[in-house]
């Protein structure tokens, strides 16, 4: 049986099972403690940073408050909505969406650029069209709406 265990492993297992070790804490030096503490702080900080808000997975397009379509944010495509004064073109790419073009005079919703976070919204008021992103569930949404 032991003949089949690779030499290095048997040696390491024998050492690991050996008696008379120094206590675990003596294996850590000052720098190790400092590095572990820093790493723990960084990891703890990453939770609120990365789990704030939701990751958007759908784009909701509405006209006059009525749902026109829902687009999944996993394949690139373009979608045209006919509004009050012309056609608004919505562009979807993996994880984000934007208003590509709009007939509105001031182009606010076009200049807003890419929307990436859940509940971000672009409103093309003159054309009565809105584009809103939606996360995978409503309850973890940090924002009711995002505007810039």
């Amino acid at each position: 049986m032991t003949g089949r265990v690779p030499e290095g492993l048997r040696e390491l297992l024998a050492q690991a099972a050996g008696e008379g070790h120094a206590p675990w804490r003596t294996l850590l030096k000052a720098g190790d403690w400092a590095l572990l503490l820093m790493a723990a702080l960084l990891v703890a900080a990453s939770y609120p940073l990365l789990w704030r808000g939701g990751v958007a997975d759908r784009a909701i397009v509405k006209r006059d408050g009525q749902l026109v379509t829902e687009l999944a944010l996993n394949t690139p495509r373009k979608y045209e909505v006919v509004g009050a004064i012309g056609t608004t073109v919505i562009e979807v790419q993996p994880g984000r969406a934007r208003v590509l073009s709009d007939p509105g005079p001031r182009q606010y919703c076009v200049q807003q650029g890419w929307l990436t976070r859940a509940n971000a919204v672009a409103i093309c008021a003159p054309n009565h069209v809105t584009l809103q992103l939606s996360g995978r569930s409503g309850q973890n949404g940090a924002y009711d709406t995002l505007n810039y």
Partner: protein, 182 residues
């Protein structure tokens, strides 16, 4: 094992080769054993084979550690049937990143830093490499970074534990057969 007929090509096998092969075998055995452990999330594994890499790094230097680590990735994936599957490339990306970090970490002043520091840094590099490859290739969506806190937590915990085990193994008087023979 003696060949049945004398080979016309003799590859000289050095003591280095035997030593690397022996440690790589130990690392592969740990990789295989680890696949039996249940994992809450794909990608979260203790990475026990990295204990061997850390021991080899401290005893024989970075070159041997790189050999053992990469042999472990290739041969380990062959044994568990993952060779050239996505998991193989993720493991390779992780191993390459952690070897790069270990190449720098071995110059940390040994007065203040032991194997635990090297292990934690290598574990972070490991998940870093994997998640970047996953983002570029497997999941072209920033949603993978959503899992980063979980992966980072696992890296911290398992990195510290593996580092402690490696530190304890290194703390013992070395009785490696290779050294006895040398």
């Amino acid at each position: 094992m003696a060949p049945m007929t004398p080979s016309t090509i003799e590859l000289p096998v050095t003591a280095d080769d035997y030593r690397i092969a022996r440690y790589a075998a130990a690392a592969i055995a740990l990789t295989v054993a680890e696949t039996a452990l249940p994992s809450p999330l794909p990608g979260i594994k203790p990475g026990l084979a990295n204990i061997i890499v850390l021991v080899v790094l401290a005893r024989y230097g970075w070159r041997d550690a790189a050999w053992v680590s990469l042999l472990r990735v290739v041969a380990g994936s062959l044994v568990i049937g993952q060779f050239l599957a996505p998991g193989f490339f993720l493991a390779l990306a992780g191993a390459l990143c952690s070897l790069a970090v270990l190449a720098l970490a071995q110059y940390l002043p040994p007065r203040f830093f032991g194997p635990v520091s090297a292990s934690v840094l290598a574990a972070f590099a490991h998940i870093g490499g994997q998640i970047v490859l996953a983002r570029l290739w497997l999941v072209p969506h920033d949603g993978v970074f959503y899992l980063l806190p979980l992966f980072a937590t696992a890296a911290l915990v398992f990195g510290a534990i593996n580092g402690l085990v490696a530190a304890r193994l290194l703390d013992l008087p070395a009785v490696a057969p290779a050294e006895a023979a040398a």
